[in-house]
């Protein structure tokens, strides 16, 4: 049986002796008998480290992973839709894996945590720069929770309860918004036309408009237009921003967004079956920060001798101080993934991020052109896309994906169920990991699958 408990029998006896107790059981003697568990837990006996690895290895062997791109991925990945297989630089992985980052707690004692604090400060700054915003927090759970907090902030800041959510926001994120904001806010959906959001003429005193850019069909939205509408209606524009696309697209902060939210996974985090990822969250300066910003914030300050020092700040917004009145309930967030994202962004730099976005876009352009040459395959939207795009298939999308899987491809995501108006449709994603040879093989398999 495995154990990490260091205590030897004689040490336990010595400690019990000091306490004047006879047995370990005496430690629990004050607990009412009625609520004590008799007979122990019905959980298999412990095992050795090797046995655990064997068992987990056997379980993992029942998956067909879609990566890593360099190595042993069983399926070649053409799926995205919110989770992306990108190459992760070995240096990023090694640095983010340093145990000082991995096994530390939230940096409540700044004197012992300048490392994590400075890394988060650098993260906040980089996130502001890629979104065009003024202030970023030190992370939220994932893209969905960032969207939720964005709407909450807008509601708090405007004192309103109605929010408009674009149908181009990923369906699962809309579902999370319904679950988590539902009890307090009124949520209405703005539909897509040819892949782009159509906002209603009468916005009806909204707190916020929320869109994703690019959206779930891969389409580039009219962010500036949405910003004008929102501001004219006294609402905030909450914009989902893609950190990879940020390499080539104008930042949402420049286009009128008041809050930028997003998913940081593509920068340094593996697909990981959906988590842990990281929620990106940034706002324009006044007036949101001091009162309404959710989550941890790192500030630059000084120590007693005037040396520069980083420290968690504005904790008066947070639950441990303001309790029921806090800007959010978030406590533990995704620090390590935020640090990873920062390291990856520094590894890329401006030119690397641009190059990354361009490479994804080139692969997508090449793939889209080739797929649309297949008889019966049609664009599901004609509006411009970047590195994801939706196509209609002449056979049921689910069936096409199955055949592609047999041929060794994770061929995309089915859109039919969530977007019935598109008919049988697939979302196809191409990242920098896909070579021309990958794509050519995929297109050939696709052609067979729809034949």
């Amino acid at each position: 049986m495995g154990s990490f408990v260091p205590h030897t029998t004689s040490e336990i006896e010595a400690m019990l002796g000091f306490l004047g107790l006879d047995s370990l059981d005496d430690l629990f003697a004050h607990i009412p008998e009625a609520v004590r568990l008799a007979g122990g837990l019905a959980i298999d006996p412990g095992r050795s480290e090797a046995d655990v690895l064997d068992r987990l290895g056997a379980l993992a062997g029942r998956n067909r992973p879609a990566g890593p791109s360099s190595g042993t991925g069983q399926l070649v990945c053409f799926a995205g839709g919110g989770a992306y297989e990108h190459d992760i630089p070995t240096a990023v992985r090694a640095l983010a894996g340093r145990s000082e980052f991995v096994t530390s707690y939230t940096p409540y004692q700044p004197e012992l945590a300048q490392g994590v604090l400075q890394a988060l400060f650098e993260y906040q700054t980089m996130l502001c720069r890629i979104t065009g915003m003024d202030v970023a927090n030190a992370s939220l759970y994932d893209g969905a929770s960032a969207a939720v907090e964005g709407l909450n902030l807008a509601a708090a800041a405007t004192g309103r309860k109605l929010v408009w959510v674009s149908a181009g926001v990923r369906p699962a994120i809309r579902a999370v918004i319904r679950t988590l904001c539902g009890p307090r806010l009124e949520i209405r959906e703005a539909p897509l036309r040819d892949g782009r959001t159509v906002w209603p003429d009468d916005l009806d005193q909204p707190a916020a408009l929320l869109l994703a850019h690019p959206n779930h069909l891969g389409v580039l939205e009219d962010v500036a237009g949405a910003g004008e509408l929102a501001h004219a209606a006294g609402a905030l524009l909450v914009a989902g921003a893609d950190p990879v696309a940020a390499g080539v697209l104008r930042p949402v902060g420049e286009l009128g967004a008041d809050v930028a939210v997003g998913e940081g996974q593509p920068l340094g985090t593996p697909l990981a079956f959906g988590g842990p990822y990281v929620g990106l969250f940034a706002v324009k300066q006044a007036p949101y920060v001091r009162r309404w910003l959710p989550g941890r914030l790192v500030g630059e300050g000084q120590d007693s001798e005037g040396r520069k020092a980083y420290v968690l700040t504005l904790s008066t917004r947070e639950q441990h101080i303001r309790r029921a009145g806090a800007s959010s309930n978030v406590c533990t967030n995704q620090t390590l993934i935020a640090v990873t994202t920062a390291i990856h962004l520094a590894w890329l730099g401006p030119q690397g991020l641009r190059e990354l976005a361009l490479r994804c876009a080139r692969g997508a352009r090449y793939t889209r052109d080739a797929l649309l040459r297949i008889r019966g395959v049609e664009p599901a939207a004609t509006a411009p896309t970047l590195y994801e795009f939706a196509v209609r298939t002449p056979r049921p999308a689910g069936e096409v994906l199955e055949k592609l899987a047999e041929a060794g491809f994770l061929g995309g995501l089915e859109l039919t169920r969530e977007y019935p108006e598109l008919g049988e449709a697939l979302l196809v994603t191409v990242t920098e990991t896909r070579t021309r040879a990958d794509i050519d093989a995929y297109v050939t398999a696709f052609e067979k699958a729809v034949a």
Partner: protein
């Protein structure tokens, strides 16, 4: 040879200079922005053989940025040096004891790191069809089963990304359950000693948080509770052992009071370390439990996350759970599929929760087994109890019942005698080689120091910590707190002025 001047370009901060590494010196580390040099690069990308369309051919003009974001430009070597040095400026469990109360900073097994790195776990897309992810589904289903066994519940969602999200989920389940019965109570009762996330989550779930006072024992004031219970109360959020480390021995009458008024009991199980295999929330009458896997189940805290905060519920709440849930395919032994519970409140997470954190916790549980988990609880309590008794006479215990896995000491007496505050003692402890305990929480204890040694610290470490805590107190009484107020003097930066930093906000680097 004529005098040559050094080019300006070269006199900028140096990424190779290691004066910020505590091994070498006590200087500050420049930011990535200061270490940046225009045109420098670390990146390289795979040869794809694809046509090299220009940006203008790929992105419509109105969307195309004029220039990419102003990120730092670094060599990989410089980035590695910078981040490695930053890491050296940070304390961690791997380097020593971390007795933060309410945080359960136990050893994070390397075994679990290896599991999280398994390519066939780490590289699955969360939207892959069920038949491609049978390993993941089986893992999650088994973890759900085990967490239910540990908590005495019937079903669980693994989606919540952390404890606070678990709380919100639990409260939404509470709301859905009441609504299913045609009721819309508006209040949730929460003890005054509770963690701040409890009232904050209640507010996010649309409830009014009503404070329940503690009594002289540090336990729920049963009479006050009974007075607060009403038709308009949806439920009670409780931590047991509570945040002063004491077991709520009146849990049976507490549960009875709530249940009598159709209220639900919510168990804040962020810290289950004391009760593993000994007591189960379900057996105490709780309907909803969240667990912090990043505490009890040793998944590392990552400097502030990621964690995982599954929520387990009794039978009657199971139909409302978020989904999808991994469920056996009827008639197909060993096969699983995603299913949405019939009356599900919906999704909590954009995908399936922090899956790799869940895998770590699963490996941790497989390693220990049922009896191993019980051993954890016994030892965690033993360490805390021993440490508490060693401090007796020097520190005060305003609530002095038998502590479980942690205890709250008050240094108010030391402050009276020496002027040294809990903060001062905590900072002084750093110089003795220990991370300080949690300070000033829970709010109901004056000059609180909340100490949780955890079971993975050896008896010698617990004793050394006791000696250090006694020594800093004795020193403070001897020198009027002078040394403590000057502490820490051994760290890369001295005492940080948090108030000034909040007044004079600098939240991004701007040169």
């Amino acid at each position: 040879m004529s005098e040559r001047t050094v080019p300006d370009l070269l006199t900028r901060p140096s990424a190779g200079r290691a004066a910020s590494m505590p091994l070498m010196g006590r200087e500050g580390e420049p930011t990535v922005f200061e270490l940046s040099s225009p045109g420098r690069k670390a990146w390289s990308f795979r040869e794809t053989g694809l046509p090299e369309w220009a940006p203008e051919d790929l992105v419509p003009a109105e969307h195309l940025a004029g220039a990419p974001p102003a990120l730092p430009e670094m060599s990989e070597r410089d980035l590695v040096a910078h981040m490695s040095r930053l890491s050296s400026r940070n304390y961690s469990v791997d380097h020593g004891a971390y007795p933060l109360g309410s945080c359960t900073m136990k050893y994070n097994p390397k075994l679990c790191d290896a599991v999280a790195a398994m390519p066939a776990l780490a590289h699955c897309h969360p939207a892959q069809p069920d038949d491609q992810i049978q390993g993941w589904l089986a893992l999650l289903a088994d973890l759900e089963r085990i967490l239910c066994e540990v908590t005495g519940t019937a079903a669980a969602t693994l989606q919540p990304a952390a404890g606070a999200q678990g709380e919100l989920t639990g409260l939404l389940l509470m709301r859905a359950w009441h609504e299913s019965r045609g009721r819309t109570p508006t209040k949730v009762l929460i003890p005054d000693s509770a963690h701040g996330t409890n009232p904050a989550s209640a507010a996010m779930a649309g409830y009014e948080a009503v404070e329940v006072p503690s009594d002289g024992r540090g336990l729920v004031d049963l009479d006050a509770l009974r007075r607060l219970v009403s038709d308009d109360v949806a439920g009670l959020m409780l931590t047991n052992p509570n945040t002063v480390g004491l077991f709520e021995v009146d849990i049976e009458p507490i549960a009875a009071a709530l249940h009598a008024a159709d209220g639900l009991l919510y168990y804040d199980g962020a810290n289950l370390n004391a009760i593993l295999g000994a007591v189960r929330p379900g057996d105490m009458g709780f309907d909803i439990v969240h667990l912090n896997l990043h505490k009890t189940f040793a998944t590392p805290h990552g400097g502030g996350g990621p964690g995982a905060g599954p929520v387990a519920v009794s039978e009657r709440l199971a139909p409302f759970l978020p989904g999808p849930l991994p469920r056996p395919v009827p008639g197909e032994e060993g096969r699983y599929r995603w299913e949405m519970p019939e009356r599900s409140i919906g999704r909590i997470h954009g995908w399936h929760g922090n899956a790799l954190v869940l895998a770590r916790a699963y490996a941790y549980i497989l390693f220990h087994g049922g009896e191993g988990l019980a051993e954890i609880a016994r030892t965690a309590v033993l360490n805390a109890r021993y440490l508490k008794e060693r401090l007796r006479g020097t520190y005060d215990f305003p609530y002095d019942g038998p502590c479980m896995h942690e205890f709250v000491a008050s240094s108010a007496g030391i402050k009276r005698k020496s002027g040294a505050k809990a903060l001062d003692l905590a900072k002084r402890l750093i110089e003795e080689g220990f991370h300080p305990p949690t300070m000033y929480f829970p709010l109901i204890v004056d000059e609180a120091l909340m100490v949780e040694p955890t079971e993975t610290e050896s008896p010698q470490t617990v004793e050394a910590l006791a000696q250090a805590l006694l020594a800093v107190a004795a020193e403070a009484e001897a020198d009027g707190g002078a040394a403590a107020r000057a502490a820490p003097r051994t760290t890369p930066v001295g005492r940080v002025d948090e108030a000034a930093a909040a007044r004079q906000l600098r939240l991004t680097w701007s040169g």
